[in-house]
Symmetry: C2
Subunit: 436 residues, 2 copies
């Protein structure tokens, strides 16, 4: 599928010097703070009217660009934009839609440039994870190839905390806080009741390949005996006998056992535990379900009363218990993205640079998109205790500052007053439709 020639009108818009318009898109699984990055970006961009004209957002992320379905952010009030700072989810809509390599997917990239050209978009801000950084990098390349000047800046976002080159990823700190707080709270419940009721509680958390979220639960444990008693990481092969021995030991020592299991935990043969278990037909690989499976393993072997919870989207949307550090960093990378663009940088991503652990100090750094794309940061072995079931002091030093501080949203009638944007569409300028 090709793309139509540039029209006269489009050609004219190109000839304007400044300001040029900006395009912002959210990508992949959303977080409690991705809108805080949008807020930082938009508030900052509005301070540079001579450089940045209108801000457009993709309705449902990059799909909005491909289908020329743009949201006119200029129609949103300052108050609405300010409210993005405390509104979870993706206010403009996100998408799981991966653009493959330029060789196989060239038409998609050319279409992006066509749409950008039609709307005089000179800045492309892409807020996502590894894949999105890869896409932003390729857009920069093809822009150069096609002689269309486009500044491409990535903005890091992922609850999984698996991006390289940045000390942490905006989105992670809040899910980490949610998981640590929830583990501590549920453990108090279980401890209260263990004498006559549930002795083993299993909480399933996200993290398909990297166990950062599961590791964060370990922060709830401040002294021997505190929950969680067992963390199951994707980085550690599941050893059922060793696991069961540890469960029994916890129940015998403390009266109960709290297990936090990452959805990505797998067997020695590399299969996800939930897939290998063969207990039902719920499509576990997509869904989670390792929590109930682990609970069943305990029940079948040890006979303890058990309960399990699967936090699923609750964990990554829980803006009500967001980490203040995370919110601040999410805002900061959005702001820095604009500053980078204004400074003439291209194909880079703002990063979080840790200056010190205690007191925690951080600043904004910079990484080339080419180095971020397609790399994955797992929990290092020295962050996991020798037995594979807990976190070390080093992990604690790393994780603890990331959940620090509370940043409560405003409430009305007992509920957080999250903003819903007008999301007015921009009139299409292209005659060609684009089939996804």
């Amino acid at each position: 599928m090709g793309y139509p020639p540039v029209t006269q009108a489009e050609g004219n818009t190109m000839q304007k010097a400044t300001p040029r318009n900006a395009f912002y898109a959210q990508s992949g699984g959303v977080t409690a703070v991705i809108n805080a990055s949008a807020c930082g970006l938009i508030e900052t961009a509005r301070k540079f009217p001579r450089k940045i004209g209108k801000i457009y957002a993709g309705r449902h992320g990059i799909i909005g660009a491909l289908t020329e379905d743009l949201i006119d952010v200029s129609q949103e009030s300052p108050a609405a934009i300010r409210a993005l700072r405390y509104t979870p989810g993706g206010a403009f809509g996100s998408a799981r839609y991966k653009l493959k390599g330029l060789d196989v997917n060239r038409a998609h990239y050319e279409r992006l440039i066509e749409v950008f050209r039609a709307h005089d978009i000179g800045y492309f801000f892409y807020n996502g994870g590894n894949d999105s950084m890869d896409t932003a990098n390729k857009v920069s390349q093809i822009g150069a190839q096609l002689g269309y000047p486009i500044t491409c800046i990535g903005i890091p976002k992922t609850v999984d905390n698996d991006l390289p080159l940045t000390d942490c990823c905006p989105g992670f700190g809040s899910v980490a806080k949610y998981v640590a707080v929830s583990t501590r709270e549920a453990a108090l419940d279980v401890a209260s009741m263990a004498r006559t009721s549930t002795k083993v509680f299993v909480l399933e958390v996200m993290g398909r390949h990297a166990g950062w979220i599961a590791a964060a639960a370990g922060l709830a444990c401040e002294k021997t005996g505190d929950a969680p008693h067992i963390i199951l990481f994707p980085e550690i092969v599941f050893d059922q006998a060793k696991f069961l021995a540890k469960v029994r030991d916890s129940v015998e020592r403390y009266g109960y056992c709290v297990v936090v299991v990452s959805e990505g935990v797998h067997n020695a043969d590399g299969k996800f535990l939930a897939e290998a278990g063969g207990t039902d037909a719920f499509g576990h690989a997509q869904l989670g379900g390792v929590g109930p499976l682990v609970a069943k393993i305990v029940k079948d072997s040890l006979g303890y009363k058990f309960h399990w919870a699967v936090a699923d989207y609750l964990q990554r949307s829980a803006r009500h218990i967001a980490s203040k550090v995370d919110v601040d960093q999410a805002y900061a990378v959005g702001k820095a993205a604009v500053q980078f663009a204004i400074a003439g940088k291209d194909a880079v991503m703002p990063t979080i640079v840790r200056k010190s652990d205690r007191p925690y100090r951080w600043s904004i750094g910079e990484a080339p998109l080419s180095a971020v794309a397609n790399a994955e940061k797992k929990v290092p072995r020295h962050f996991i205790t020798a037995d594979g079931f807990g976190i070390t002091a080093a992990a604690r030093r790393y994780l603890s500052p990331l959940i620090a501080g509370e940043d409560y949203p405003p409430y009305r009638n007992g509920l957080p007053t999250y903003v819903q944007l007008k999301s007015a569409g921009v009139r299409k300028r292209l005659k060609s439709a684009f089939v996804l």
Copy 2:
């Protein structure tokens, strides 16, 4: 099993006029605010040293009384007691241990009196649900029969909100708030992603027989199209065809569908849906699991991408997002229990009396334990919309004030600083052990 004769020492303690000691026990599933009731009770009791001597608590509830395993609350500092107000779980341990009727279980009741006598306990405060109110009532009766003066006061507690005679139950407002907030947050996540990802999200919540908790999720919906789009109540027989039609309609209208399902939803034949489904062997009746089951029904019939969450203990321990009204009421019923006892009342329970909906005003009332025991308050039909999938304006008027206000616990290093009591044991005075 009998009980040994009263010793001389015990007889002596009985002859003291005042003060007499108090015994407090937590019963059944704990909540985010049951300790706030303990706080209200203890702080108030400490103001009446000439009436109430030492306060003892049962380690693991009534079991602590039966086994003479008492906690000496007087050893806890005022600061520790104050911290109970914001600490979830049951600080003294709770138990699911039902004392049956006096006819079949007389030995248990006699044992209670024996232990009370040994420790000069003149006040019995029992913090629980229907069964516990029944027990407290029977203890009052047998005390009279055995010529042992004991003041028995019930303190209402249940997340299920199913006690009669009180407008609401302490514990409910906080789980209601958690569920409403979580539904709103997760819905924002799903709405963001629905274009290319999950279209149907199912959240399973507690409520075996009464759908109050599921109903509370409805508060997240403030205008047409808001989540939750479907609530499945235990009070409404599950109609699969009607349910699926509603799911499809929501997805077609709004792009996604959020379903909140009570663990107690059942088929026309009265079986819990989770039991009837026959999908696995996890012991669903105890556990929940109807969330994944409902998600599977959607997947199999409509093919939509789906996710599910099971909040389980997270919902009832989530003190971090407690309702201020709930905390205040939990404290107030603990305080009132002591005031009732001091005033010479017996076999009663403080209740919450609603004075007006808007502005919400309430006061403390009183109900006889005999009337509370063994009755169950379900969601009335006029609180549920005609189609059976939502809540009415009347339900909203009732529910909304109960989740009002936030009452955040203090934090340190990003985590709530919940108190752990010393829980020093009281030296046993009885030679006889008691086998549960």
